[in-house]
C-alpha cells in the first residue's frame, strides 16, 4: 500500500516560497551581494533594497513607520527578543509576565526561561475553543505586570484570539502587549495600530517567503534589550550582517500577501470548510478542535475517538498525504500537545487528533482525495483498537 501521489497539507510546518519571492531574491544571491553597511555603490544598492523590504513588511501590518521593523532570523528569535528584550529592559517596572496556555514553544520556553531570572510567568487559561479567558487576564494583570504575550492565531487549532480586547485590558495597567503572529501573518489582515499591538512577531516562511528570516515590530517609544551583540545592525537591536536575499524575499512575500490575502483566504476557507465537513460527517465519534469560524483560513484540526492520531498520520503518509499531529516543533516528542490539553481535551483525545494546514498549492481534488481516504483509515484502525465499542466494529 503505497502511492506516488503527494498531497501536502502541512503548511504550518513549512511552506514553499512564492516563485515571485525567489525571483526577487535571485539577483541578491547572484550579483548584488553588497553589504548594506558598506559606503560604496555596492553597499548603497544593498541599503536601498533593505529599506524597500522594510517598508513592505511595515505596510503589511500598518506600522507607523518602516523603522519599527527589526529583521531577525525568524519567529523563534523574534519571540525570544520580544519577551526577553522587554523583560530585561523594564525590569525596574515589574517582574510579571502574562501569557496564554496556547502559545508556540518559543513563547512558552522564553517565558519559562525568564522565571529563572527572577520573573513570574502566568499561563492564562483558555476555553474549549482556545480563546484566552479575558477575566483571568484582568485578574492576573497586576501593577507588577510589564508584558502580556498572546498568540494572534494558534497554529495548531487555528483559533484567532480577540487581540483588540486583550490590548484594551493590557493597556489599562500600562503593560505592553506582544503578539506572536507567526502562524497568522499573511493569512489574515493584521493592523498593529487599530488592534493596539505594541510588539509583533512576524515569520517570513509562513507567508511564502524564505526560511531563516523574520521580524519583530516594536512600536515607537518602546525599548528592548538586544539578544545578539555585535556590529550594531538594526539600530543596535539585532547585530549580524543582514541576510539581504532573505530580507528581500520576505519583503516581496509581504507585498504579495497584502495584495492576495483576501482572495486566497476566501479560497482556503472554502477548502477548509469542505475538508472539515468531509472528515467529520461520514464518521461517527469525530470532532472539530477549535472554533468553526474564528479560525485561520487553512487550518483543520480534528479528532477521532478510539484511535491514535499518529496511526492516522502514518496511514495518510502511506497514501502520499502529509498532515501532522500538531506543531512540527513538538512532533518528535511523545507528549500530547499542550495546546490540545489546554482546550480541555483528555490525553487520549489529544492523541487522537490530527491537523491539516492548507495552503496555496492545495486544490479541491486533493481535499476530495483526503476526504475519500479517511473513512476506511478510521474504520481499519478502529477495528484494530481495543478501545473501540463493539457496535463500531461491525
Amino acid at each position: 500500500m503505497s502511492t506516488s501521489k503527494r498531497v501536502y497539507m502541512d503548511y504550518s510546518a513549512g511552506r514553499p516560497l512564492d516563485p515571485r519571492a525567489i525571483e526577487a531574491m535571485l539577483p541578491y544571491m547572484e550579483s548584488r551581494w553588497g553589504n548594506p553597511s558598506s559606503l560604496h555603490v555596492f553597499g548603497q544598492e544593498a541599503r536601498q533594497a533593505l529599506d524597500e523590504a522594510r517598508a513592505k513588511v511595515s505596510q503589511l501590518i500598518n506600522a507607523e513607520k518602516k523603522e519599527s521593523i527589526i529583521f531577525t532570523s525568524g519567529a523563534t528569535e523574534s519571540n525570544n527578543l520580544a519577551i526577553k528584550g522587554v523583560a530585561y529592559r523594564y525590569r525596574d517596572r515589574g517582574n510579571r509576565i502574562l501569557t496564554s496556555s496556547v502559545e508556540h514553544m518559543s513563547v512558552v520556553n522564553s517565558c519559562k526561561f525568564m522565571t529563572t531570572k527572577g520573573f513570574e510567568t502566568v499561563f492564562l487559561p483558555v476555553n474549549q475553543y482556545g480563546f484566552v479567558n479575558l477575566e483571568s487576564l484582568e485578574k492576573e494583570l497586576t501593577d507588577q505586570t510589564i508584558l502580556v504575550s498572546i498568540v494572534y492565531a494558534n497554529g495548531e487549532i487555528g483559533t484567532l484570539e480577540p487581540i483588540k480586547e486583550i490590548s484594551q485590558i493590557t493597556h489599562k495597567k500600562n503593560a505592553y502587549l506582544h503578539v506572536d503572529a507567526a502562524a497568522a501573518n499573511g493569512q489574515v489582515p493584521i493592523d498593529v495600530k487599530s488592534e493596539g499591538i505594541d510588539l509583533l512577531t512576524l515569520s517570513s516562511n509562513d507567508m511564502y517567503g524564505p526560511k531563516g528570516v523574520g521580524a519583530l515590530y516594536v512600536k515607537e517609544g518602546i525599548r528592548i534589550e538586544p539578544l545578539l551583540h555585535g556590529g550594531g545592525q538594526e539600530r543596535g537591536l539585532r547585530s549580524g550582517t543582514e541576510n539581504l536575499p532573505g530580507i528581500v524575499g520576505f519583503g516581496k512575500a509581504a507585498e504579495i500577501a497584502q495584495n492576495e490575502m483576501q482572495t486566497e483566504g476566501e479560497r482556503l476557507t472554502r477548502l477548509r470548510d469542505k475538508l472539515i465537513k468531509g472528515l467529520l460527517d461520514p464518521i461517527p465519534y469525530s470532532f472539530l478542535n477549535g472554533h468553526s469560524t474564528k479560525r485561520l483560513p487553512g487550518n483543520v484540526s480534528v479528532r477521532y475517538n478510539f484511535v491514535e492520531g499518529e496511526s492516522i498520520l502514518l496511514s495518510l503518509d502511506m497514501m502520499g498525504v502529509a498532515a501532522s499531529s500538531g506543531s512540527a516543533c513538538t512532533a518528535k516528542t511523545l507528549e500530547p500537545s499542550h495546546v490540545l490539553l489546554a482546550i480541555g481535551l483528555k490525553h487520549e483525545e489529544a492523541h487522537g487528533s490530527l491537523m491539516f494546514s492548507l495552503g496555496k498549492q492545495n486544490v479541491e481534488d486533493e481535499v476530495d482525495y483526503v476526504i475519500g481516504l479517511m473513512p476506511n483509515i478510521i474504520k481499519r484502525l478502529r477495528e484494530m483498537s481495543p478501545l473501540t465499542p463493539k457496535e463500531l466494529k461491525k
Copy 2:
C-alpha cells in the same frame, strides 16, 4: 569623473554565492519545503538534507562527528552563543574570559556584555602584526578563566593567529578555547582536532554560501546554555525552524571550499602579493598593515601617510572600485578601527588605512586597474592635504 567599470574588492563585507550553492538550494526553495521535524515523507527528505549538510560542514573542519555542528543564523549569533553559552554554563568554575584586542565586534561586544553579568573580560594585547601576545595570555590565564576567545584570522588585517600554541596554553588551565573563524573559513584549512579548538564559529557567506546561516562547532563533552528557547531544534541548543535552503547551500559551499581552497588560495595569494607590491612600491610613505605572509590569501590592508582612507575610498568608488576602511560592521562610525589601533597605529595612520579583500571573481586585470589608479589618487589627495610635506607636493 565616473565610470561604468565595477571592481569589487570588498569580499570581507559580502560575497556572491557560488552558483553551485544556489543550484543546491533552489530545490529546497521551490519544491522541497518540508520541515525536518515532521514525521512524514516531506519531513524525512528535509531531515536527510539537513544531515548531509551538517556532515559536509563538519568535514571541512575535521570535526569528530557531524552532531558537533550547531546551525545558527550566522557568525554573529555563533560568537554570541559560544561566549555567552559557555560563560553562563560554567559560571561555577570561574568568571574570567580572555580575548584579544583584534576581535570582531560580535566577540568584543559579547565579552563586554558579560561584564554586566559579573564576568571579568581581559582584552589581550597584540604586536605590530596583530599576533596575540602569548606571554600575556599565559599571565592572564588564571584558575578563574573559563574561556579564551581568539579570532582565527582577523578580517581587517588578515593576520593568522597561532591557534595551536594558543590552544596549548589555554588547556594548561583547563579553560576552553573558542575560535572565531568567520573571516578565515573556506580561505585556509582549519582542523579543530589538530589545532585543539573547543568551539569554532563558522560563517556561510564567507565561504560563498548564503547569508543568514552560520554554525558553531562545539566539541563533544562541552556544554553550552542556549540563547534562543523554543522548539528544541539543534539538540535543544538553537531553537527555531531550520533554514533548510540556507543550510543546504552552506553545506554545498563547505564541500566546494574543501575541494578548491588550495588552488584558489594560491591564486589569491599571487593576486594579493601583486596588489600589495603595486600599491606600495610606486608610492612613498606607504605601508602594509599586518604580516606579509601570515595573512589571509585575499587580504590587502595598506596605509598612506598624510591622507584619509575615506577620501581614497571615495576616489576609488568614483572609478568603480569597491574597497573598505575595515570591517563593514563599523564602516558607518567615524571611530578608527580598534584593530588598527591595537597593532599600534596612531589615529591618523588608522584613518589613512584602507582594505582590499579579494575573492573568486577577481582577476589580474582588476588588480592592474587598481594599481594603475592609486598613484594619481594619492598624489591628488596629498596635494590637497595640509599635512603633506612640501617635497611630496612637487
